[in-house]
């Protein structure tokens, strides 16, 4: 589902990524860990075209990414984003829209799903993340964990094949974080390939089948806790 081949990126003179490679199969849940500032978020952003890279190549959900995204047209990019959901660390919910409107916006606008259908689907997704009764609330009326879950529902609303999650639980207390993590696994349940970035190794091990560590600009596989035992 995802193939990353010797991906490299420079910011000025600093190499943020160098020779990153990984193969991730369909339905896998993979966590990428590493120190803050090691390039985890950058790698994730490169995978759905929010940022470009300088060397190497990547294939994601059938889309070929090349340096500078030169081979990808604007419509391709939009299709890519339809297939690859993304949830931000700071959630970036739209403050002028209710939870339900946040979730239904993209299906309605991008995929032209009729308004009623989009609304029903949004309610379904909000129910799945445990927020059925908060559908009419605006982001400022929700708690941090609730916002994170709305962002998750929003990323899932387009039925993506791949879900990219950037620190989905970082702003949350341990209990809430646990709840959000469980929700993620429940709603994706082997149907969606999940790549999540986190600095909490314990969470990574609990959620992901495989954990990769990004260090010095390159990826290395971490042994699972069962292997070390």
């Amino acid at each position: 589902m995802i193939s990353i081949r010797k991906l490299g990126k420079r910011r000025g003179d600093v190499r943020t990524l160098s020779g990153v490679s990984a193969e991730i199969g369909a339905g896998e849940v993979v966590a990428i860990v590493g120190e803050s500032g090691c390039g985890k978020t950058t790698l994730l952003r490169c995978l759905n075209g929010l940022e470009t890279f300088d060397e190497g190549a990547a294939t994601i959900a059938g889309f070929e990414l090349d340096p500078g995204l030169r081979s990808l047209s604007e419509p391709d990019l939009i299709r890519l984003r339809g297939a690859v959901g993304f949830a931000f660390q700071e959630h970036h919910l739209f403050p002028h829209l209710t939870a339900e409107e946040n979730v239904s916006l993209s299906p309605r606008v991008v995929k032209h799903v009729p308004a009623r259908e989009a609304r029903e689907r949004a309610q379904e997704l909000l129910r799945a993340v445990g927020l059925a009764e908060r559908a009419g609330a605006y982001p400022h009326q929700l708690s941090g964990g609730q916002r994170q879950r709305v962002a998750l529902a929003r990323a899932l609303a387009q039925d993506p094949k791949v879900l990219l999650l950037d620190e989905p639980t970082s702003a949350l207390d341990p209990e809430t974080a646990e709840g959000v993590a469980r929700t993620i696994l429940d709603v994706t349940a082997g149907r969606v390939t999940v790549v999540l970035v986190t600095h909490q190794i314990s969470l990574a091990h609990r959620m992901a089948g495989r954990v990769l560590r990004l260090e010095g600009g390159a990826l290395a596989e971490l042994p699972t806790p069962t292997d070390t035992r």
Binding site: F86, F88, F94, A155, Q158
Partner: protein
């Protein structure tokens, strides 16, 4: 008679203020002038040739003109020097009353309304009202033009005369514009003093001037009430200048001595009536008709402003997006447009659009007014929306893009709904400013609220009542707007800040 471009709004306001604060005149100006050794004449150097104007050949731009020569001769007769004091033509009388100068001498026509307010000396010049029509037009009299649109200058003798004859004059602020509009067919005739008509109208190849004067009038020197001694002394001096031939020499020098002056001299010698027959329009009190006209003027102001703002808004948004966009040429265009329209006066833009571009495309006055206001305010709106769009957190656009929205969809569904809330207070502010700036369009003959006020002020011989009525109407339009915007703002913000109601 006014002879130049006047910024109605500013001057009307100035006159209004002056009228409100006018203090008592100083006692016995003549003795004071003698003691000082100079008599101060109030005039407007912008009036232009041949009245009082700056000598283009003099490096220090000394003031010259036939009125300068007459003033010098009069002062010499009294035994003092003449000094000119600059004043706006439309505020000459209030400035005189305030005591800014000793006498006003700048093409002041002898009219009943002026006589009611200040003292006037004997006339020093006789003028005729010249009717001009488009070349080839067979209608050579006011009667033949009945019902037509006749142009003249605001607050002029001809303005009074036309309204006395049942016309609703099209009022201009400058001397060449009425003739330009006549040639373009926007109006069917122009009635102005022969001094102006000879210089600005009859010389045009596309304009015919009717030979016989429609009416006659005279210019006299304005003096404050209570200065009867000064009037007597100036009349004595004027008589001497006339008898000695000095006046004739001065007017001859400026090519102004003609049959009209000869007739005036004769009339003065034979002791015939010194005042010309009153042109018409006598002073009256505020009436129901005024209320109706003011309301109609307010409606014009509101309609103009609303239409202009409705155009300025999308224009400004478009410019803001061009300026924020990635395409270099569009960005350069937006920056140039904004700087150009923000950096030049709206008044100038109105003139260029209405008069300057008339040979290329001929817009009706209201269309030119709406367009000029919209283009000017579009530049301001552009900056408001640019600032507001920049104030939306960058993560919002990124989140929209990550959801697969196109740039346009992100703008339409995510960025603009948020930036609009940010822009709303400034937009309201801009609309209120536009409402007031719309008074400038009177220079292209649109009669809106402020223009209605200046017209009424002449009829009612005072600025106070029409000024207050005008101010009340502007306030009545802008205040509810501010309230509405405040409520709208509260409603829009409720989804973000629950405490802001």
């Amino acid at each position: 008679m006014s002879r130049k471009v006047r910024v109605v709004k500013l001057r009307a306001l100035a006159a209004f203020t002056v009228a409100c604060v006018a203090g008592p005149a100083r006692a016995d100006t003549l003795s004071a002038a003698r003691a000082r050794g100079e008599l101060v004449f109030g005039a407007d150097a912008q009036g232009g040739e041949p009245f009082v104007f700056e000598d283009p050949n003099d490096p220090r731009r000394k003031l010259i003109g036939f009125e300068v020569d007459i003033a010098d001769a009069l002062a010499a007769d009294v035994g003092v020097r003449a000094r000119f004091s600059q004043a706006d033509w439309s505020t000459l009388v209030p400035s005189l009353e305030r005591g800014d100068f000793d006498v006003a001498m700048n093409g002041l026509e002898d009219t009943p309304s002026r006589r009611a307010r200040i003292l006037l000396t004997l006339p020093y010049f006789s003028f005729g009202e010249t009717l001009a029509v488009k070349r080839g037009d067979g209608r050579k009299s006011l009667d033949a033009l009945a019902g037509g649109r006749i142009g003249t200058l605001n607050q002029s003798f001809a303005d009074d005369l036309l309204r006395g004859r049942g016309f609703e004059p099209v009022l201009y602020e400058g001397v060449s514009e009425p003739y330009a509009d006549l040639a373009l067919g926007r109006i069917s005739g122009v009635l102005l003093d022969h001094v102006i008509a000879d210089r600005y109208g009859c010389v045009r190849p596309d304009v015919d001037c009717v030979r016989d004067d429609v009416a006659r009038g005279t210019y006299a020197i304005g003096v404050r009430h209570g200065d009867e001694a000064l009037v007597a002394r100036l009349n004595e001096a004027l008589g001497r200048l006339r008898r000695s031939g000095t006046l004739e020499r001065i007017l001859e020098k400026w090519k102004l001595w003609d049959f009209r002056q000869v007739e005036l001299s004769h009339r003065l010698e034979t002791g015939a009536a010194t005042a010309p027959p009153p042109p018409s329009a006598v002073s009256r009190a505020w009436s129901f008709a005024d209320t109706r006209l003011f309301l109609a003027g307010a409606l014009v102001t509101l309609a103009l402003s609303t239409a202009a703002f409705a155009l300025a808004l999308p224009l400004g948004l478009g410019l803001a997006l061009c300026r924020l966009g990635r395409r270099g040429p569009l960005r350069a265009f937006a920056v140039t447009y904004i700087e150009l329209f923000r950096g030049t006066p709206l008044l100038l833009q109105l003139y260029v659009l209405y008069f300057g571009l008339a040979p290329v495309f001929r817009l009706p006055p209201w269309a030119a007014a709406v367009l000029a206001l919209a283009m000017n305010y579009g530049a301001y709106e552009a900056e408001i929306h640019r600032g507001a769009l920049l104030a939306v957190p960058s993560g919002q656009g990124e989140a929209a893009r990550a959801l697969g929205l196109t740039r346009f969809q992100a703008l339409r569904h995510v960025l603009l709904p948020q930036s609009f809330r940010i822009a709303l207070p400034s937009m309201t502010n801009d609309f209120v400013a536009l409402l007031k700036d719309s008074s400038l369009v009177s220079v292209i003959t649109v009669v809106e609220l402020t223009k209605r006020m200046t017209i009424a002020a002449v009829d009612l011989r005072g600025w106070l009542v029409p000024g207050l009525a005008c101010a009340a109407l502007y306030f009545a339009m802008s205040y509810p707007l501010s309230r509405l915007a405040a409520r709208l703002e509260g409603a829009l913000r409720r989804d973000q800040h629950p405490e802001a109601r």
